[in-house]
Symmetry: C2
Subunit: 226 residues, 2 copies
């Protein structure tokens, strides 16, 4: 069962895991793009499919029972949201975004969206913009020490977002007990294309965990949920 | 340059393209999940990466210049949104959703989200729920003959959405000129987890196209944008 998992991975162990699995996710991203764009003949595609099935088989020989979850090290290895659909370095569905978090409660990222994120022709899928903004607003809340799960999210599409290089940013605008409100946007070279505002709420189970009843609160406290 | 492309693909040609490329996207989806979950040793991962790079190379020998775009056949082949990030059968980032559209202005889908769509541990990423609902609301609008691009989208998260089998549906609630309002939700076996409402607007270029100035309006009229 996937869960918020606390371990004692050292920085060296984390670096080794990342060096091993990150290139795998990266080449699968390239395959995803190639799957959409290739125009090679049917027999060549068939041969590729056979080779890929063989690799799947080999990778499945030993694997996690469920999803990656979220791992947090108490030995200096940091938090690994590596299966996350937006920032997960082991997840080929994720672009992945490299997010810079600021403890004042903001987050930003420069990223590139290719053919796999298309909605209308040549444009970023409106829902992909929502996906990325949900993550960025959540990261801003977490960076400011007010992590939470999304309660509401409102997107306003100012104009189409082209596939290609993009910028996203978000910041906390208000907090109240376990509630955090954040705003953000995605922009291309010409300016803002999509705006978002959201409310994030710290779940009850996390409040109980951080009340320090059973475990060392500081080390185990999640600074993110996604 | 990707665009809304009109061609004369026959149903047979479309079926052949689908039979060739759909299994490729499918095995890349399996690879994406394996990339997240595998625990095989570093040397086995390295060997897999080398093999995958070789396949990427082969698939890239002949490929589209940009993204897939949206193709519409005037010869009975239907519309192919095959690169789409939610429903694209050639896009490994898409689950993909198989959407049933009803001309009264509704759309629904039963689908499965695995490890690649994770946000909080064991749960669907809030932004992935938004991505899927954006698509479903847009499909409902298009199914009712009122296609449009997303102008606003509001998500309300009632409770966490577990990874696994899910259901989504959407319907038009109001239309006014080029504007269409739709609502929808995602549900698991216990009921609704996320609700959405959105406004979709027919873009100016599509209005001009459908005014029938230069080309046969009916055959070329998009019934979707994503």
């Amino acid at each position: 069962m996937s869960r918020y998992q606390v371990d004692e991975a050292t920085p060296e162990e984390v670096a080794r895991e990342r060096a091993t699995y990150e290139p795998l996710a990266q080449v699968v991203r390239e395959l995803a793009e190639a799957s959409i764009r290739t125009e090679v003949e049917a027999d060549e595609v068939e041969a590729a499919v056979a080779d890929l099935r063989d690799v799947v088989e080999r990778l499945r020989k030993r694997q996690l029972e469920g999803s990656y979850g979220l791992r947090h090290s108490t030995a200096g290895g940091g938090t690994r949201p590596w299966g996350n659909a937006v920032v997960g370095v082991r997840n080929p569905v994720a672009p992945p975004l490299d997010v810079r978090r600021d403890p004042t409660g903001s987050a930003e990222s420069d990223f590139h969206l290719g053919a796999a994120y298309e909605g209308p022709p040549g444009l970023v899928h409106g829902g992909v913009a929502a996906l990325i903004l949900d993550q960025l607003l959540g990261e801003a809340a977490g960076a400011g020490g007010k992590p939470g799960m999304t309660a509401t999210l409102t997107l306003t599409y100012r104009r189409p977002t082209p596939l290609g290089p993009l910028h996203g940013e978000a910041r906390i605008v208000r907090t109240e007990d376990h509630k955090t409100w954040a705003v953000g946007h995605i922009a291309d070279a010409e300016g803002v294309t999509v705006e978002a505002e959201g409310l994030f709420i710290l779940p009850r189970w996390a409040r109980e965990r951080t009340s320090g009843k059973a475990e060392p609160a500081e080390a185990e406290r999640p600074d993110r949920f996604e």
